[in-house]
């Protein structure tokens, strides 16, 4: 019932309230011989009071006025006039008005308070989110900035001689810090794309191999020391997805592994196609998550409590946004015997390379070239003799 009046238009509210009054009046009119016209007033009043629970002030007031007129016109003798002969009836009608009005006004005051409370709650929730965001961002921004300032100060010192090895180390730290800042910007922009609801996916055909290997290459230096096992189902078809978004999702999951597992741990990445969905899992043999963490992991700004820093709490919610934009799902569970496992499932359109036998034929005809199809699709067989097919083709 809470706040339901926010969602109904004024017109609908007025219509429903007046119809209820008419309905009750009709029932009373049919049974007037049994109940007497004084109790009709109470019944109508009760109706108006009930309406005031659900609706805002104007529909309630209109129902009150309507019911008063109906009562006067149809029930107070003389019938079918608004004329009142009896002073008792006049007093009753007056009291009727006062009570209906009071109940309407009281209701509207309660509504107003409820609304304020709701807005206040909303605002404090938003403020809390903003505070978390700004705390997290300023921490994430200031740490690398502090590194850059400190390292360059060191390098700029005139009277202190720094060993060549340390100089290189400082420069390296500046570079790492800068790329960390850049990644934060990427994350913020991606989060904004998800949050704005303007995320548009641009699906195109891509190879699953590339989808998995590209993030691994991007994280090459961070992954040094980790054991990375990649297992892509043989005969994997090409799939139609937004490469950029899903590659970024795999990247974020992998980057998480870098941040939250020990350097010597094993990360295994699997990709398969079940006839309908592309399934990518990224698992590790680390510590896994507690029940509480599993529940909250995909919440914006949530960061698990570990010593190693470097997260904004945005990475996983971006993954969720990107995968859901593909009508897919992402989940996390604890792996057996230990560690955590993330699974992305995305329904995809696919094509097998073999499906292209026909196409290849067309292409050959188009180019007016001769090709042996069996050779085209036997990639491992490298001919030792000179390829006669390429000789008579015109480029």
């Amino acid at each position: 019932m809470k706040l339901n009046y926010f969602h109904q238009s004024m017109f609908k509210q007025v219509l429903v309230s007046n119809l209820s009054v008419v309905l009750v009046a009709l029932i009373c009119y049919a049974s007037i011989n049994y109940i007497g016209y004084h109790s009709v007033a109470l019944l109508l009043l009760a109706t108006v009071s009930v309406l005031s629970i659900f609706f805002t002030i104007y529909p309630v007031l209109s129902a009150a006025a309507m019911s008063a007129i109906i009562w006067d016109f149809f029930f107070i003798p003389p019938h079918f006039t608004l004329h009142i002969t009896n002073s008792e009836d006049a007093l009753l009608l007056l009291m009727y008005f006062v009570i209906a009005l009071t109940s309407g006004i009281l209701t509207s005051k309660v509504r107003e308070l409820e609304k304020q409370e709701f807005l206040k709650e909303e605002r404090s929730h938003t403020l809390r989110l903003y505070k978390t965001l700004f705390d997290s961002i300023s921490h994430e921004l200031r740490t690398p900035i502090a590194t850059i300032v400190g390292a360059s100060d060191n390098l700029l010192q005139k009277d202190v001689k720094i060993a060549e090895k340390d100089k290189l180390e400082l420069v390296d730290q500046i570079s790492v810090a800068a790329f960390r800042l850049n990644r934060l910007i990427d994350n913020l922009l991606n989060m904004q794309r998800v949050e704005s609801g303007m995320l548009e996916i641009k699906p195109d055909w891509c190879e699953v191999n590339e989808l998995i290997n590209s993030p691994i290459n991007r994280l090459k230096s961070e992954l040094v020391g980790h054991n990375v096992e990649v297992n892509i189902q043989p005969e994997m078809p090409i799939v139609r997805i937004d490469f950029g978004l899903i590659e970024q999702s795999v990247f974020n999951l992998l980057h998480n592994e870098v941040l939250y597992t020990q350097p010597d741990s094993t990360i295994s990445i699997n990709a398969s196609y079940d006839g309908k969905n592309l399934i990518i899992t990224i698992a590790d043999n680390g510590k896994g998550f507690s029940e509480e963490e599993l529940k909250l992991l995909f919440t914006k700004f949530y960061r698990i409590a570990v010593n190693k820093t470097g997260g904004t709490g945005l990475g996983l919610s971006i993954v969720k946004g990107f995968v859901e934009a593909h009508n897919g799902t992402v989940k996390v569970e604890n792996n057996t015997p230990n560690g955590a496992k993330f699974t992305i499932v995305i329904p995809v359109e696919t094509l097998m390379l073999q499906d292209y036998m026909d196409f290849s034929n067309i292409a050959v005809k188009m180019n007016a070239q001769y090709e042996t199809l069996t050779e085209t699709y036997r990639p491992k067989q490298f001919g030792k003799i000179k390829d006669s097919t390429t000789d008579n083709s015109e480029e």
């Binding site: 850049n182 195109d204 090409i238 042996t372 085209t376 390429t390 000789d391 083709s393 480029e395």
Partner: protein, 227 residues
Amino acid sequence: MNILIIDDEVQIQKLLEITLNNNDYHTLIASTAKEGISTAVIHPPDLIVLDLGLPDEDGQSVLIKLREWYLGAIIILSVRSSEEDIIRALDNGANDYLTKPFRTGELLARIRTALRQTQLNPTVQKLEFDNLSIDLTSRTVTLDNESLKLTATEYSLLTLLAKNDGKVLTHQYILKQIWGPGYTQQSQYLRVFVGQLRKKIEPNPNNPKFILTESGIGYRFCTKGEE
């Protein structure tokens, strides 16, 4: 070699100037589109490094204006990293596109490649890369001195990429060149044939060293000795 830098950020100007001068390039600097175009007219450089976010005019339109007469190499250096911007710049005639922040080593490699392309000898008969060689006159491809059996489409694709060694070719451009203008939306053809070609020429097709993917944009054939 003269390189013209068109970028309004003083820090970037300084960084590029130091980097390029230390690598024996002579630099010219322009902070606005207008200044950049007039400098290019007065002292035609061998290569232009162009920023897209200029104060007086959008870099894409500067690119289009330059390409009306300028035949040298143009490398875009921009903070704009969306696929649309990159594809548009390449279609507008940029030789290459690098997003900020960039690695100076990467920039220098791209500059060398772009300069090489614009000075390419059109009568070249043989392209060689590590253990792969393509003889354009006899239309044969050899890998580790063994002749490779390629279909005509695979051969066209390989030579198109290899002739543009180091340069990103957009999906649309490749489809148009190999299959014709009616096929520019059929990117699955390209995926399939690149997959086939990789299986034939790459030592490890999952981690290619010759045909590199520029995700969402196109393919780049590896640069000699710089992979």
